[in-house]
Symmetry: C2
Subunit: 263 residues, 2 copies
């Protein structure tokens, strides 16, 4: 292959970047291929659940060897952006698959049997457009006062209210989202975000604390005042680390716990 920070483009997607600084640092070919694939994913060239072109096709398209494409895809697979299936192809990851549903929900029943209690029962408490407060704006990368959608809901397991959460979504990308559409959909909310709004959550950060509920919260969760609850603040990101959701949850951990793996 030829020299460095240029990669042979095909229909020439060439994203500007006139190399303002001196020698823009070394970037391996496979990283360049990776970002090209990433751009296609981001642009929606292949939809969630669909197969992307085969390694050979991509190798031909980008004029590199199959091994180089393979390494690029390996990294995308490691980041859960695509999913490889031997003999079938490589598929754009989605929150709609049975196996990985509720990928970001780490609260599980103490029995460990995730399926024993069936799917969560969801109730939308409220859903309204409003102007972003300072902290919501900061978390979503907006300006204070920008339009946001605020949603409150309760999740119940086996009839017991267990999670109370508030969501804030940027008004722009989620234009047209209403309480009705939220109530109607089946399956994970993030799956609906993909199919209805083309927004794919690929990564999230959570800050966890122990708190006490205020009177309103203890009513909704049907727990006594003074019951300790897990406060989980999540910021979820689409491609390129763009924040797309702020979520503040209260988890009742009497019969469930938050599970985490460290390595």
């Amino acid at each position: 292959m030829s020299s460095n920070p240029s990669v042979p483009s095909e229909p020439s997607p060439l994203t500007g970047e006139p190399a303002a600084s001196v020698t823009p640092a070394f970037s391996p070919l496979y990283q360049q291929i990776k970002s090209l694939i990433l751009q296609s994913l981001q642009a929606g060239e292949w939809k969630p659940g669909e197969a992307i072109p085969s390694e050979m096709e991509l190798a031909a398209r980008y004029r590199v060897s199959q091994g180089t494409v393979r390494k690029a895809i390996d990294e995308l697979a490691a980041e859960n952006l695509v999913q490889r299936r031997q003999g079938k192809g490589t598929f754009v990851a989605t929150h709609a698959e049975r196996q990985v549903q509720y990928r970001f929900l780490k609260l599980i029943p103490d029995t460990g049997d995730v399926n024993s209690e069936g799917p969560a029962e969801r109730r939308i408490v409220d859903c309204r457009r409003q102007r972003a407060s300072a902290d919501v704006a900061r978390a979503l990368g907006l300006r204070t006062g920008d339009p946001v959608l605020q949603v409150g809901r309760v999740l119940s397991f086996a009839g017991t209210p267990t999670i109370l959460e508030d969501l804030w979504l940027p008004g722009g990308p989620f234009k047209g989202l209403t309480a009705d559409r939220l109530s109607e959909h089946r399956g994970p909310m993030y799956a609906m975000f993909e199919s209805e709004f083309g927004v794919r959550m690929v990564r999230a950060e959570e800050k966890i604390r122990a708190v006490l509920p205020d009177p309103n919260q203890s009513t909704l969760l049907r727990v006594p005042a003074g019951t300790p609850l897990l406060s989980v603040e999540r910021v979820a990101y689409t491609y390129n680390d763009v924040p797309m959701e702020l979520r503040r949850g209260l988890y009742h951990t009497a019969t469930h716990h938050y599970r985490n793996e460290l390595s």
Copy 2:
């Protein structure tokens, strides 16, 4: 290379396994190499912080190509068992390095500035040998009544008690551990486990809940009764998923939070 589930051994470490069932499922060469390296790590052939042989050397030792060794090491590096350093070599991971100290501690100050408060001040509350209760035994893979070491301690940040935790360690591997040796050591406890007892924690699982302290706990943490606290129960594992520590922590989350990344 030759046929499958046999790999050319060198000084013949050949770990039994007479293949009891029919066709022991396909296992790629690099996976076999990986487990051979894993055995050497486990046996202490290379100590934490030391370099393992170069890829070329390992390739010669196992009679495979460098690429195959590379893929084996890639996986070990992804699991944080070894660390690659370009131009220098591949090193056995350790809890003693500056960068990854407290790798398993996810509680960080709300300011986000991990270094602003300096190192934690540690106080051993108690340390005694006892017999494993049923639940401790189960978590550590022991039998009820087996000897275990129980340690209680308080961690303070900037003079404020923030973490109260109890540890249970299997009596066998940690023979000779005393309150004095615990108090004397500097740096992470897991680093001392490596250097003093040859026990390397490579992985852990945590179960998190919100709880209220009992009177004794609220005294030690200097918080009022009724203060919600994070309960973090951790089981830490050495190689081959052998549990080596049970740890029950109470985190005061007024000025700190538990941070988690999802993907």
